[in-house]
Each structure stands twice: as C-alpha cells, then as structure tokens.
Symmetry: C2
Subunit: 119 residues, 2 copies
C-alpha cells in the first residue's frame, strides 16, 4: 500500500495518492477551494448549473425556466462567473452562459453522489 507510481494502482492506492495531495493544502489553496465551494453552496445557483448542464442558455431563458427575476439571475451568474464556474458568450442582444469546463461538471456530480448517500 502507498506506492508512488500512478500506473497500475488499486483504488486504495488511488485514494492514498489523493490523501497525499490533500496534505499539501496550504492556507491559500484552502481559501481558493472554499471560494468555489461557497459559490456552489446555494440551491438557487445549483439549479442554474443544473439547467446549464443541458446546454448553453441566455439569461432570460434561465430566468423564465426558474421563475426568477432577471437581475436576480444575473447576480447569481456574476458569482458563478467570478469563480470561473460558468463561461459567457455574447451573440447579438443575448448573452449565453455555459458550464466552464468538464472539471466543473465532475465537481457537481461528485457533490450529488455524496448527497445521494443516506447512511
């Protein structure tokens, strides 16, 4: 257990490697990671992300889908943008938002997986 080569490692070894990574967590890294988690930590923003998981949408579409006001949705997107969780693209009058990368997708799915586990 605890070998350092990434090739051919068992799930247990994989976890051990992750733990080694975690040990190196300095204050700054904690702050940055917390910043991302904090923005993900709101049901309304998670719903926006859940919509965006289905594909690009403009602000009005998101607002209509969730039954929220435009400024409210815009504020939420601003926070998500701040942590690079979503990306922005203007097309004429509309601004389309999307999940920034597949990293974000994985992050959210992992959160859900943990949420699904009821002891």
């Amino acid at each position: 257990m605890g070998q350092s080569t990434p090739l051919g490692c068992t799930p247990a070894d994989h976890t051990a490697n992750l733990v080694n990574l975690l040990k190196k967590l300095d204050k700054g890294a904690c702050q940055r990671a917390a910043g991302i988690f904090r923005v993900l930590g709101d049901p309304a923003r998670m719903q926006v992300l859940s919509l965006l998981a289905g594909g690009e949408m403009c602000v009005s579409e998101i607002a209509a889908a969730l039954g929220d006001s435009l400024p409210t949705v815009s504020q939420r997107l601003k926070l998500l943008r701040g942590e690079r969780i979503v990306s922005q693209r203007r097309a004429g009058k509309h601004i389309y938002y999307a999940l920034a990368d597949e990293h974000v997708v994985r992050l959210i799915v992992n959160g859900l997986a943990h949420a699904g586990e009821r002891k």
Copy 2:
C-alpha cells in the same frame, strides 16, 4: 458521440454521461448538494479537512494545530458532521474525527484542482 454504454467510452463520452446525470438534477438534489458545498465553502473548515486528510485527529489537536479555540473548532466539526463530511469516534476522553469516506476526499481534491487553474 454520446453512446450509452459505460464500457469502452472515451473521455468525451464520459463527460457526456456526466452531463446526462446532471440534467436529472431536481430541486431536492440541488438542495442536498448545495448543503454539502456550503459547508465546504469556508476556508477555516477547509483547513480542518486538510488536517484530517493527514489522518484522524482529536478536537484539541485540531484546535492546537490551527490556533483556534476549542468551542470554535467544535462548531466547525458540528457543521461538517451534519453533512456527513467527517466521522466521529470516541476513545476515552478524546473524540477523534476523520474524513467520512474517499468520496469526500475526491470532492475536495477536485475543488482544489479547479482552484489551481488560473486562466
């Protein structure tokens, strides 16, 4: 692209599968996931988790390591416990805390990985 079998799928397909999962996010799932992320979204609590990544620790040890008061650390652990992010084990006078499972470890590492990406 977008085949449904989990076996032999490319990274792109894998991401597509994750996106399909995300589409199913209902309000309840969003709330549960957000609850977990909210608790992770604090630098002080992330530092506690970073310590626990190195192995089990009792409350006094954590408090000493971070230079925080005992009640403060206890409150943080209570929140983490509430979302089953850490587990508790009593041994005599001491109560030892640990990361609840490797799922949590992955979650935190993914958050850090995203935090590390500076555009």
